[in-house]
């Protein structure tokens, strides 16, 4: 995973606004990186660009050797489907789907052979064997995030993006979730990019970069 001179600008009512400026990063397979910063520092925008959810104004992102800027929207979607997993602060589970169905979704999208079987295995990995048929609304915040983690690891992604994964959880649950993410990450050799404002959590990663005003101020 590599970013070169990454810039993101948007046109607002007060003129052009630079959200990210000259971001250069390189991350090897299996490595973990924490992106630290306060609210509004550009962390989530950076994650969106690195994951191919958004397009940079200039510069480029290479993911598993592929230049995301050269792919169209569908090309990036295909890449995400095969190589990328996500964990979000707000869990982003679909409320109408059971825990099992939520985990099955990326496997079904990728046309997996046995989505149900694999989804069950992933849910067992995160300790939710007895919660498979529950809907998100029937689960606690910690359990919902576990489902999200199971979904992120379903299909065996090469790289995992986690956006403030503990932002909505109490301290104790947050600790368990972080422990779970890092355990699975180690077991599967996944590359991890974790966005957080908490230096404690950042310490679990191999490397840390700190963003302020859209620029890397410390790495």
């Amino acid at each position: 995973m590599q970013s070169e001179q990454l810039v993101k600008q948007v046109d607002g009512p007060g003129g052009r606004l630079t959200i990210l400026n000259d971001i250069n990063l390189a991350l090897h397979a299996g490595e973990s990186l924490a992106v630290l910063g306060v609210s509004g520092s550009g962390k989530s925008t950076l994650l969106g660009l690195l994951a191919g959810l958004d397009v940079a104004s200039s510069g480029r992102v290479l993911l598993d050797g592929q230049d995301l800027g050269r792919l169209d929207e569908d090309g990036r979607a295909r890449l995400r489907s095969r190589r990328v997993g996500f964990v979000f602060q707000t869990f982003q589970l679909l409320p109408g789907l059971t825990a099992l169905e939520n985990v099955m979704l990326p496997l079904e999208l990728a046309g997996g052979a046995d989505p149900a079987g694999e989804a069950e295995a992933r849910l067992r990995d995160v300790g939710l064997a007895d919660r498979m048929q529950h809907y998100p609304g029937q689960l606690s915040g910690g359990e919902q995030q576990r489902v999200a983690i199971a979904r992120a690891f379903a299909g065996g992604p090469k790289i995992l993006f986690a956006d403030e994964p503990t932002g909505n959880l109490d301290q104790k649950t947050a600790g368990q979730i972080i422990e779970l993410i890092f355990r699975l990450n180690r077991e599967r050799g996944t590359t991890l990019i974790l966005v957080t404002h908490d230096p404690e959590i950042a310490r679990h990663c191999d490397r840390t970069v700190t963003l302020a005003g859209g620029e890397i101020v410390e790495s």
Partner: protein, 830 residues
Amino acid sequence: MTPRPFRLALTSLKRDWRSGELGLIAVAVVIAVTSLTSVGFFTDRIRKATERQATELLAADLVLESHSPIPDSLRRRARVDGLETTATLHFNSVVVHGDALQMAEAKAVEAGYPERGRLRTAPELFGRESATGDIPQPGTAWAAPRLLQSLGIHVGDRIGLGKIQLTVTRVLTYEPDRGGDLFNIAPRLLLNLADVPATGLILPGSRIRYSLLLAGSAAKIAAFRREFEQESHDNIRIEGIRDARPELKRALDRSEQFLGLAALVSIALAGLAVAMAAQRYARRHFDHCAIMRCLGAEQALITRIYVYQLCLLALASSLAGCGLGYLAQQGLAALAAGMAGGPLPPPSLTPLASGVIAGLVTVLGFALPQLWRLRHVSPLRVLRRELTPVPAGGAVTVALAVVALALLTPWQSGHTGLTAWVFAGILATLVLLALGARLLIRTINSLRFRTGGALRFGLANIARRAGLSTAQILGIGLGAMVMLLLTLVRTDLLDTWRGRLPPDAPNYFLINIQPSQVDALRDFLHQRAGVGTVLHPMVRGRLTDINGKAVDPDSYEGRARHLAARDFNLSWARTLQADNRIVAGKWWDGGDNGATRFSVEQGIADTLHLKLGDTLTFTVAGRKVSGRIANLRFVDWDSFNVNFFVIANPGTLEGFPTTYISSFHLSESQKPLLTDLIRRFPSVTVIDVDAILTQVRHIMDQVTRAIEFVFGFTALAGIVVLIAALQTTHDERSREAAVLSALGASRRQILGGLSAEFACLGLLTGILAAFAATAVEALLSHYVFRMDVTVDPLVWLIAPLVCTAVIVAAGLLGTRSVLRTPPLTVLRRI
């Protein structure tokens, strides 16, 4: 491995169905398809029944006719082919009783006649008739009432026909293949074929019509006809059911068209509900799609999943609609029992296919533009929730809806004009309602600063959501307009229609009244029956020249040829009859200086290509009468009053041999008067149209009920539109209520605000619906029903009141769960 969109769509459909998000779309489709298929099944059955009836009008499935005997070989072949056969023979002859003579149309029949339909007879003149499977025995005859009247005889009397004497044993009241004109043909005498040789009337050169009636299965009949038509039979004419009674077919086509249009209106409303429900469905699936996009779903996959999902939903709902449509048409058929003259044949399965196609087209046409937006959901929405795809383009949405509706009008072939008018009407109503809604919203927005409290909050909400409010007003307004048409206006229209045939509509005609009998007859009817009748003079004349050019019947086609070849019943009048209306030119005012002027009925003028100012020449009793056409008249032929195709101004036809004609109403208990009337005025002929009148009234009642039944679906579709329209802003309103509640607003305050909003919405909708209903009704009555109808002014009071009450009630009912739930739960859920 590639994703399997169909399987994903199926899973997604199951999930969405479970969460209740697709219910409204499904209900709307079920209603639309039920409406369409019930009409489809019903008209299919009516069409089959009409064909069967048409066979009765021939008294067979196929008839061979000739002026020379039909070869026995043909009859033998028909029998070999498995067809039933029976022969009949027609000739005109004078029937004698004592000194009385009367020309009669004799028909000789053999056992088996009629092959289709049944004869009806009565034991005495004006007696109770009943159906029979018999024919007259040799040596006997059955006579039509007019023959008995003109000869002054009764059942049991003997009459002479050629060289033989026959005993009249029954009064013949109905024969299925009679046809023709009640007033212009000689009365019927039915006798046994075995008696014909003895009459001595079958001589070389006699004008005799031989018929062979054939009956059998459709396939055998078709095969026989094919074979017959391949051979050369110059002097034998063949007539099948498709050649019979085109006017009946036209009438049924028209009712089919109206029922079809009624179904189309429910489809349009259901489509509106589908579009609104789909809009909400799409909005609620933005997050879903963003996550799927984030997890790697391509745009094409998203589109395919939702299109397949829609198709599956449409298919399932359509099949349910077809089932319900089948059940509903049973009800429709029960309501219309007797309309087709007997039990209806079972329907074919063709409407099933059109029902399924209609369901698919409705869903795709109305929901697709909304769901198409889902492919444009950005995956970045998982991080920035405010990212929403651009709304579906208005023009594309309307265009697709119009295309969908156009595809759903298979009955439009041949009636493109009417269908186009309906579309134009729907579109114009939508545009006017939208403009009206915008104007009213702007007006109330300016008023809001003069109000306070809940009302201000409600008004502000409507103005802030101007787009959604307009859509709601449009949806509910269109639904309400249809409902108004159904309840208030429909009653006006149907009552006016039925009012054309009041309970005292004439049920008897008197013809052959001599000028010397006019006063005495008028007095008789006045004193004995208490009826005041108008006696119209009648002179018979043939149209010989138009604008100085001789009329050649052979230069005309069909009905025009028939009219040109026969005598007209001409009359004269000083004033215009109440049920006539001048459509061109002017009625005469006496300033014609003795010149002859004619007033011509609009329909016949069209048929014979006559224009205002043309000069017509009639030959009356060997003398020519010429005059210009002074005006064209619209005649309401349904009224059963005496009417004439051509009327002359006074002073023109007086002096020619004249008889008088009249019509009047007699109640059942007054019928015995007729016997006295005939005794007192033996030369006057009574024609009983009571049976026809009853039949026409019966059909009117049944058509009315069928239309009400079909419009019931339109009403249901209107309710679905109301629910769908209220749901479009439900989420937003719930969120606002939760926020207000969190900020400390009391339940009462929130309810007040919501009530004010719903009330304003209802009031605006009601006003617009009343306006639209009045306009549509005026157009319908003028252009379609051609009647003067005054709309009940109560519409303007009832529509706003009912709309306000219903929308407040339905709106609060829909939001009540929000008020009972803790605000945080609501905010988390949405």
